[in-house]
Amino acid sequence: MEISNQQRNIVVIGGGPAGIEASRALDAMGYTVFLVERDGRLGGHLCRWDRLFPYGTPAEDVLSQLTASMGRIKWFTATEVTQVNKLERGYNVILSNGLSVLADALLLTTGFTLFNASKKEEYGYGIYDRVITNADLEDWFSGIPVPAVDNPRRIGFVHCVGSRDEKVGNRYCSKVCCATAVKQACEIKEKFPDAVVYCFYMDLRMFGRGYEDMYLEAQKKYGVIFVRGRVSEVSEDKDGHLFVKAEDTLSGKPLRVTLDLLVLMAGMSHNRAVDPIARTLALSTMEDGFLKPKDSLTAAQASYCTGVFYAGACTGPKTLPETMAEARAAATSIHEYLQEQ
């Protein structure tokens, strides 16, 4: 007997852009989708972003567009997956709201965790009041008071905080920080046109469409000063300003500057909330904790576990467009898988 798509249950874990977009695509194919988000609202990290690079699109617009038509998707916020059991066919997923779903496929869209910048002890996040993160600055852009942003005259951005850093166990590039730093440097320059703004970078990875234009604009229109060199340590002077050390590697000289505000570009770490599920289902992970897809070139949405799929930053740092594309690719992969069952 033919089973209709509607009789197939798919549980999507994680209600960020990947989860929402994949759920929408699967819903459009007629499947019954359960979307589970542990936070109080859908959107994931997008909820904490003000505007998006490279064109300054408000994140709120993207979110409302994404969540405008949720179709028949059964979505739950403030809900966690308490247990996943592998059955002979499919999975039994028990949620914290008491619901138990027999799922034919699981899609993990658990995303990333923002790197805990206080782990880079030498930068003094959580100790020096004028050191903030990219996320804190996004808060400020969206109108949430951040006391450290107090009419700063000298502002620094530190790229690669918790990325390309073996010491903290994150050898990879987090992909979005360069573009975020340049975006935020321009935005803060708009707010404080007289401020001197520095970007401390190791390599500028402006790989996406429109990113290089953003960099050029940061240089020419906003006069952002780019210093090729990683900030090595930060301390406070007598007045509570930040004393920053880096090497200006292009001139081969140590560089010192006093700043009023230092913004750390915290990168992406793997989301530890997915670890218990990964353990239960014996999913492969990489040495940095991100989930390992079956084949990063040809089967990036598939896991080593039948019926379990991935989309977005749960397998490594991704930009938003990449995440969206993966979400749709995952929907297609799941569809192909279920049609073969």
Binding site: V196, L216, Q219, K220, I225, L250, P254, L255, R256, V257
Partner: protein, 109 residues
């Protein structure tokens, strides 16, 4: 004072706190393209004087932006204004014009 045969060495560090940006900003007003340099080094690589002098336009631009005018001007003094750097600059900076502006602005006392 006693000479112990050793002493306090001057710092080679770039101290941006002590950098008076007035002249650089004047240069940027006159030659906005100076801000576009992405330090690729094409100019220095093709410079005919590079092999026998310390002229290096990439470094000149960098040093001016770090408050090291003396070093930059010493380099610029070796430039023959041939314009080879202008041909290779991927950002399309009018390097010859830039060098003339540097000379004009920084040699004003």
């Amino acid at each position: 004072m006693i000479d112990f045969g050793y002493g306090i060495s001057p710092s080679s560090a770039i101290n941006l706190d002590k950098f008076d940006r007035t002249k650089f900003e004047e240069l940027a007003r006159e030659e906005p393209d100076v801000l576009k340099c992405m330090a690729c080094g094409s100019c220095a690589a093709s410079c005919p004087t590079a092999g026998h002098s310390d002229m290096n336009l990439r470094r000149v631009i960098l040093l001016l932006g770090r408050g090291r005018e003396d070093e930059a001007l010493r380099m610029v003094s070796h430039c023959m204004l041939c314009g080879k750097c202008l041909i290779v600059c991927p950002r399309g900076i009018n390097t010859r014009h830039l060098i003339l502006s540097v000379t004009k602005i920084y040699q004003k006392k």
